[in-house]
């Protein structure tokens, strides 16, 4: 019963976009951390996380994304979330991090 985080990486002029597919929780957070660190290695100006196919995220996933954002800010880069489903947006509202992560 092993779950992996499904994703696709797309280059952008100012960095990269990663499109995720599946639920993000404590089980996949270590893999998410590795993935984000790798995507941030070239120090992109912008890393967009496409959350359109993510129906659920918990505090482990959120903390991992916040960690990536803090890392990117080290070179004035940013990590931005796009396409959040209502349930995921509600989770970020509950966490009080909607503005920090630029969720529209």
């Amino acid at each position: 019963m092993t779950r992996a985080i499904q994703h696709e990486l797309f280059p952008r002029d100012d960095g990269a976009r990663i499109a995720f597919d599946g639920e993000i929780d404590m089980h996949v957070a270590p893999e998410l951390r590795k993935l984000l660190r790798k995507a941030l290695e070239p120090r992109p100006r912008t890393l967009v996380l496409d959350m359109a196919k993510v129906p659920f995220i918990d505090s482990s996933g959120i903390a991992t994304i916040v960690e990536a954002l803090k890392l990117a800010r080290g070179w004035s880069g940013t990590v931005r979330l796009e396409g959040c489903q209502d349930a995921v947006r509600d989770t970020f509202d509950i966490a009080g991090l909607t503005r920090l992560l630029g969720i529209a």
Binding site: E23, D25, H27, D58, T91, G96
Partner: protein, 164 residues
């Protein structure tokens, strides 16, 4: 060791000294591995819908259940996947209750207060989210070892704690 989850559709017993008007419920026991969070989400969502909660509240109940289980795995069991977690879900007057039982190390109550202040430290965000998703939160060590966490959600009550 083969790890399995077990579910019982019988009435989940009311917690000692609490509840009172508890109705029929479900009890599931599963290993303390994060692999089982997907199963937990399915069970909690099914029960929340069965109790008549709207979609947004179902999502919040599921989130609180995941945060509670994650805390048990991380703090009570120190990531040991070979332990057990029991979840009792029951309908109560005006809503539902989720009761989590573990056999691990009890968390001192002040940790929850600390988590309230330090939301971005490990565990802090999860506790805060769990409290905001639900309307009642009760945590106590059990005399026989381990701890009991009870989360209560009332229909149409909104957010549990004030917005950050």
């Amino acid at each position: 060791m083969r790890r399995t989850a077990r579910a019982s559709p019988e009435a989940a017993p009311a917690p000692p000294g609490g509840g009172g008007s508890a109705r029929a419920g479900v009890e599931i026991t599963f290993p303390s591995s994060s692999e089982y969070l997907a199963l937990l989400r399915c069970a909690a969502r099914w029960f929340a819908r069965r109790c008549g909660f709207a979609d947004r509240d179902c999502g919040r109940i599921v989130l609180a259940a995941v945060e509670a289980t994650t805390n048990i795995i991380r703090h009570a069991y120190g990531m040991d996947a070979a332990k057990r977690i029991t979840l009792r879900m029951r309908e109560v007057e005006g809503g539902l209750e989720l009761e989590f039982l573990d056999e691990g190390k009890a968390v001192p109550p002040e940790v929850f207060e600390q988590a309230r202040r330090e939301v971005l430290k490990p565990g802090g965000l999860g506790v805060r989210m769990m409290k905001r998703c639900m309307d009642g939160f009760s945590y106590e060590p059990r005399p026989e070892g381990g701890a009991r966490l009870i989360l209560r959600k009332l229909r149409g009550a909104g957010c549990g704690e004030d917005a950050p």
